[in-house]
């Protein structure tokens, strides 16, 4: 606008001599604001003149801008005329200005409608602009669900057995019963939602006259025997006061490492399952960290220690012999570098018979011979408590992602195809994390990928050593130096 460039001269106002009407007519100020957005428009019916009511359509006054500026905009019809001759101008001190002079009345009208309603209905002549809308930018890691091909997680149907279980748990919570009997229900699985309320059970204290009131510590017992559970219900470990747990006669193939969280557990019955080994966490619970005293393990297809070596081990060592398999050495990508390999974990469910495991002379330890260590490996591979590899740190962060994001990451790795090792490592680490994480059996440090694995055979229940009573415990180490201590031959 040209008049913005030079400062305008001070206008004549009624206060400095000009007549009021002449001033008002001559100095219709420019539209109030020169911002880029459209000016506010409002209409008013404040003109009481009779002429306004004579015509079929009433003319409402339109104002542009704020109310205190009071520039009434003429409606499109009256905009055609000269405003000095308009009756509105004469009858009121308000200066009238058309919103847009010399514009076609029709076009103006259409524009006003848009401004007025604020809702664009899309008339018959409006073109479909949907095709022109640019597709929103999606960053690489956040693909649309359609791209991801993740089927929407089906809402798990509540089985009849689980409904009964829920009902029983509800009753226990209401009555303060600490013995939760979920036996003989034919449960195939049991969800977190069903189990979570058990943690809320609070015993009703017995009040005896003359004895000072004491809130009893909760002491929860869960009976899950004679069911068909295939996986250990991991949400059980969140019930801190659990002292008694029986899972007798189920189809469990593995006990997750998170069982180590049950620090108050005193009795654990795992008889008549399909277990091959137990996590080393159970040994910790039986030691200083927990209170576990009773462990029932009968009738499981345990890994067995090979007889010959077993006898050698028992005769050579002291009263508490260490009977173990050779150590399996792995890289952080899950590749095995040692000659000894533990039987594949995935195939366990299929075979039912017990499996003989080679047992090593405990005085020897076989490190992989056909590998060479780089100088920089000294730290990452051979320093148990030193800095880990960047690969492991990144893996650790990834495994702690929530499940849907982890699925996305997996999807992108799958698309990329160039990183089969990385994907495999991530899968294993995520699986370990889901099962409660791994702790080094030697230095007690948390880790994401085991670098050593071996099985130790212990007979926790028996006083007399018997090959049949030995239970295999899987131990893991966080570096190649995290291996069982060698016992010297005495």
């Amino acid at each position: 606008m040209a008049d913005e460039q030079v400062l305008p001269t001070l206008p004549k106002t009624p206060f400095n001599g000009a007549s009021k009407r002449a001033w008002a007519q001559a100095n219709a100020p420019p539209p109030s604001v020169s911002t880029s957005s459209d000016p506010a428009v409002f209409s008013s019916d404040d003109d009481p003149a009779l002429e306004a009511y004579e015509s079929a359509r009433r003319h409402k006054r339109r104002y542009v801008g704020t109310w205190y500026e009071q520039h009434a905009a003429l409606s499109s019809d009256s905009a055609m005329g000269d405003h000095s001759s308009s009756p509105f101008v004469r009858s009121s001190p308000i200066v009238c200005r058309p919103l847009r002079r010399k514009a076609g009345a029709r076009q103006q009208k259409r524009e006003f409608r848009k401004l007025d309603s604020g809702i664009f209905m899309g008339g018959p002549d409006s073109t479909d602009t949907e095709g022109d809308v640019p597709t929103p930018y999606t960053p690489k890691f956040f693909a649309s669900p359609a791209q991801l091909k993740i089927s929407p997680r089906s809402q798990p149907q509540l089985s009849e057995a689980e409904a009964v279980a829920r009902e029983r748990i509800k009753r226990c919570v209401e009555n303060g019963t600490q013995e939760v009997d979920l036996s003989d229900l034919g449960l195939n699985s049991i969800s977190t939602e069903t189990i979570a309320p058990i943690a809320d059970i609070e015993p009703i204290p017995v009040v005896v006259k003359g004895v000072s009131f004491r809130q009893a510590d909760p002491d929860i017992k869960i009976y899950l025997y004679n069911n068909n559970l295939k996986d250990f219900p991991s949400s059980l470990v969140n019930i801190e006061p659990l002292t008694f747990l029986t899972l007798r006669n189920n189809d469990l193939t593995e006990i997750p490492t998170c069982i180590g969280k049950l620090k108050n557990l005193k009795t654990l019955n795992l008889a008549q399952n399909k277990l091959r080994y137990l996590p080393a966490e159970i040994l910790r619970l039986m030691g200083d960290e927990g209170k576990l005293v009773m462990l029932h393990t009968a009738s499981n297809p345990w890994w067995m220690a090979e007889k010959v070596s077993f006898e050698a081990a028992t005769t050579n060592c002291g009263p508490n012999p260490l009977i173990r398999t050779p150590v399996e050495f792995l890289g952080s990508d899950g590749r095995i570098y040692s000659r000894f390999r533990l039987p594949l974990f995935g195939d366990l469910a299929e075979s039912t018979g017990s499996l003989e495991l080679e047992v090593e002379d405990p005085t020897e330890l076989e490190m992989p011979q056909d590998v060479s260590y780089r100088e920089q490996d000294d730290n990452r591979l051979l320093n148990p408590k030193g800095a880990r590899s960047l690969f492991e740190y990144a893996l650790k962060t990834l495994t702690q992602l929530p499940e849907p994001e982890l699925e996305e990451v997996n999807y992108w790795l799958e698309v990329d195809e160039g990183y089969p090792d990385v994907r495999e490592a991530l899968n294993q680490a995520a699986e370990a994390h889901r099962r409660g994480g791994l702790t080094c059996s030697v230095c007690n440090r948390g880790m994401v990928v085991p670098l050593t694995r071996w099985v130790e055979f212990k007979a926790p229940a028996a006083t007399k050593l018997d090959r049949e009573l030995l239970i295999p415990f899987l131990k893991v180490g966080c570096s190649w130096k995290c291996v069982p201590a060698c016992q010297s031959r005495s």
């Binding site: 890289g331 990452r380 880990r388 492991e392 740190y393 990834l398 990385v422």
Partner: protein
């Protein structure tokens, strides 16, 4: 230049990081780049066409973290920001920053 104490790592978006050579040698890949008859060995400048600036920055941080803690025990874990962890995992795989030994050549 080639026997300088420092080397320069360049991300694909043009960020340059000057790193202590000894610290960067943790990476097997960088070691091979600097040892062989390559241009990198002569100029001491390694370009990574696949690693973004923020990721390479974290890698460099790891070099120094590892270098500072090389003979220590009870080292605190390094924190990895979530937004770059996948890229970092792949970069670590590429640079050989994982814990696995080399199979010895039978010859």
């Amino acid at each position: 230049m080639s026997d300088s104490k420092y080397i320069t790592l360049i991300s694909y978006d043009g960020f340059e990081f000057v790193v202590l050579r000894e610290a960067a040698l943790v990476s097997e890949t960088i070691g091979a780049m600097l040892r062989g008859p390559f241009r990198e060995a002569q100029t001491g400048r390694c370009e990574f066409g696949e690693i973004r600036g923020p990721v390479l920055e974290k890698v460099v941080e790891y070099f120094h973290y590892h270098y500072a803690n090389r003979n220590q025990t009870d080292v605190p874990d390094m924190d990895i920001p979530v937004d770059i962890c996948l890229e970092l995992l792949m970069a670590a795989d590429f640079l050989g920053l994982d814990s696995k030994p080399q199979m010895r050549d039978i010859s």
